[in-house]
């Protein structure tokens, strides 16, 4: 399958700070590719470079065969961008916003009207089209924000954390919309720090942390990196001395990693089912007052934990 996007050694520096560090990946035509990482990992900077908003400090990317450095106008014509922020004019109606953004993408006349009508149907907001954006709820604004990126039928859609700060119902609708757009043939680069979204949507996932792409593959490929390891999440009393307890658990049994979190510990171990009882005993002996215990089978969160030593939500 041909690549719609090929990113080669992209880096972005701000003085001493390296926001994106030598990132390379590709997106196949018709694929949903997710960049999964915590806040500040470099997801938005990566999308900003790919969408020609930011010039890379080094590296390049080809989108639909066009370089983001030397052919950025052609790149812009074949991409759609849904920014993390609600980038709409509050004092214009949804219809006026869509017409404006459509015209910026060289749509006009009957074609523009038809596309505006179609995207309003996709996001199910036809009946509110003539209301000003400032009267919309957060979820409705998110949907218009997405619609504005779809008007020109882009081959590749960049969606930067499109579900941040919205209610579960709107979130569900957006996730279904992403899947439907992909079913219609649109390639999608989706950034998120929600593991569940990446798991539900993605054909492949790139895990990004501190500007570096630390793992890439299908979910199966990534979880295989963790092997047979499970996560055991132990919630403890907030007053417990967690660093001290963690140091006593390190190396115990088959525990390979211990992560201290705000309200407890997360342990990576093999065969949690058999090791759970001695681990709990050891934890209590180390001075912990356990409030709850959860065994998590290998997933992207586990992969991230294993690779970075931190939880995604950190």
């Amino acid at each position: 399958m041909p690549s719609i996007l090929q990113a080669n050694n992209l880096s972005k520096n701000y003085g001493e700070l390296t926001a994106v560090d030598d990132v390379s990946f590709d997106i196949q035509d018709g694929e949903i590719f997710s960049l999964l990482g915590p806040n500040g990992a470099g997801k938005t900077t990566t999308i900003s470079m790919l969408s020609t908003l930011l010039a890379p400090s080094s590296g390049d990317a080809l989108i639909n065969g066009c370089s983001i450095l030397s052919d950025n106008m052609q790149v812009r014509k074949c991409i759609g961008v849904v920014p993390q922020e609600i980038a709409l004019y509050d004092d214009l109606t949804a219809l006026e916003n869509l017409i404006y953004w459509g015209r910026l993408y060289d749509l006009d006349g009957q074609e523009l009207n038809q596309r505006v009508n179609e995207v309003l149907g996709i996001i199910d907001l036809k009946d509110r089209a003539k209301d000003r954006i400032k009267t919309y709820s957060g979820g409705m604004k998110r949907r218009i924000n997405i619609a504005a990126g779809l008007l020109h039928k882009p081959k590749l859609l960049f969606m930067d954390e499109p579900t941040v700060g919205i209610d579960p119902q709107s979130r569900r609708m957006i996730l279904d919309m992403v899947k439907e757009l992909n079913n219609q043939g649109m390639s999608i680069l989706y950034t998120t720090h929600y593991m569940e979204e990446a798991q539900e949507l993605s054909d492949r996932v790139g895990i990004i942390d501190q500007g570096k792409l630390i793992a890439i593959g299908t979910q199966n490929e990534l979880t295989q990196q963790v092997g047979e390891s499970d996560s055991i999440r132990i919630e403890t009393d907030p007053m417990d001395d967690l660093p001290s307890i963690a140091s006593q658990l390190e190396g115990f049994g088959e525990i390979s990693q211990v992560m201290v979190e705000a309200d407890g510990l997360t342990l990576i171990t093999k065969d949690a089912e058999h090791n759970l009882a001695p681990i709990i005993t050891q934890t209590v002996q180390a001075g912990a007052r356990i409030k709850s215990v959860e065994v998590i089978e290998p997933n992207l969160e586990t992969v991230f934990l294993q690779l970075t030593g931190r939880a995604l939500r950190d």
């Binding site: 701000y14 969408s51 908003l53 930011l54 106008m73 961008v81 004092d91 404006y100 910026l104």
Partner: protein, 416 residues
């Protein structure tokens, strides 16, 4: 061009949809004009507002022209604006000013009429004929009106004197015009003879200093300066929209569309420019329609507004390109708006400024604009604005070029 207009139209629509912005940028100058009119009494007296300004005139000339000037102040045309009384002795008249009984004393010197109508028995004086105005130094507006009347009279007289002199001499000698008909003749002939460069010079002396000719009506003294000051506020405020759009991420969304950054900058600039033009036009039209203020030749007024708004846009864009946050631009814009307002006659007449301030004021669109409006209000045409329009063009262009250097770095470039 289509996208430039699209972006400009969107910005104009946003202004119309934002009640606060609409009030500040477009309606505030309108209400300011109403306020000025109310303060100066234009609603009650029809023209310039103030009335019955006390003036003591010493007519040492006693001739036709001196009498004509007295009649100007006494005539129906002044609508009771000035309440002149006559005094035989100018020193006594000055004492009345010093004692606070009147705001100004005017001396029409001997030989004033003969300088225009030299009969065979009277020779032309070698030096300029000096009308002397002695004022209390406090009644700025009242004295400003008296000065305006005198300056207009002198302007017309000065530029027409030679032609009138020759014409009158022939007409009087042939008996076609009698001495009694001279004032009427002057009223009809002077406007047609503007532009003559020869003849005796006339000067207005105010408190022993020679003053230059300047604008005509009271409202015209203040209105252009106020309009231009609000234009600066408007344009700098409009330029802030670049930074606001960046903060709201709509600028970024524009930049990732297949639209050149130059189109976005030009489009937004054009929107800011248009609303600046609209604002000044509103003030000009309302003051003309409601208060009968004479701005002069309409075509020239429109052209001048277009050029002034262009120069103001240059300042607005430079500030926006230089500063990084809307509040920084707003603060700098307010400071510069007030400063330029002062330099451009928004608070006090420009003639009252010291020379060095007038020189500094040349960097402001306000000073050039005020000068242009004064010329037009006094009957000037587009041809008289050549230097001013060129200066405004240079100011605007230089500032926009400077702004373009900073713009890509500070405005269209964004962090990730």
């Amino acid at each position: 061009m289509r996208k430039i207009w699209l972006i400009a139209r969107k910005d104009l629509k946003l202004i119309i949809r934002d009640p606060m912005a609409l009030v500040f940028y477009l309606l505030a100058p309108f209400f300011l004009t109403l306020g000025m009119a109310a303060v100066t009494g234009a609603f009650s007296s029809g023209e310039t507002g103030l009335s019955n300004i006390p003036l003591v005139i010493t007519n040492a000339d006693k001739g036709e022209l001196g009498n004509a000037l007295v009649e100007v102040f006494q005539s129906e045309g002044s609508d009771g604006l000035v309440a002149p009384v006559l005094a035989e002795n100018f020193d006594e008249a000055r004492q009345l000013v010093d004692s606070g009984s009147t705001v100004a004393a005017l001396l029409i010197p001997e030989g004033f009429s003969s300088s225009v109508m030299p009969l065979e028995s009277v020779s032309l004086p070698e030096n300029a004929i000096q009308l002397q105005l002695y004022t209390d130094g406090e009644s700025t507006y009242s004295v400003g009106i008296i000065r305006s009347v005198l300056e207009t009279f002198i302007y017309e007289l000065d530029s027409s004197a030679a032609s009138v002199s020759v014409s009158l001499d022939k007409l009087l000698s042939t008996g076609l015009v009698s001495p009694e008909e001279v004032p009427l003749f002057l009223n009809k002939l002077l406007p047609k003879l503007l532009g003559s460069e020869n003849g005796v010079g006339y000067q207005l002396i105010v408190n022993d200093s020679v003053v230059e000719w300047q604008d005509v009506s009271y409202l015209a003294l203040i209105a252009p300066g106020m309009a231009l000051m609000f234009l600066m506020f408007n344009v700098t405020g409009g330029s802030v929209s670049f930074l606001v759009e960046r903060r709201k991420f709509t600028l970024q969304r524009n930049l990732v569309s297949p639209t050149g950054s130059y189109q976005i900058i030009l489009g937004k600039s054009f929107g800011i420019y248009l609303r600046g033009v609209a604002q000044v036009l509103i003030l000009v039209l309302t003051s003309a329609l409601l208060f009968g203020l004479n701005w002069g030749n309409w075509l020239a007024v429109l052209v001048l507004i277009a050029f002034v708004a262009y120069a103001a846009l240059g300042w607005g864009m430079l500030l926006t390109s230089f500063f990084k946050t809307p509040s920084q631009v707003s603060s700098a814009g307010t400071t510069i708006g007030l400063l330029f307002g002062m330099l451009g006659g928004g608070f006090i007449q420009m003639t009252a400024l010291p020379e060095w301030l007038k020189t500094i004021g040349k960097i402001s669109p306000n000073a050039w604009g005020s000068e242009g409006f004064s010329i037009l209000a006094a009957g000037g045409t587009l041809a008289n604005l050549g230097g001013i329009l060129l200066a405004l063009l240079i100011v605007g262009t230089v500032l926009l070029i400077l702004a373009s250097f900073f713009f890509r770095r500070n405005v269209t470039r964004v962090g990730g």
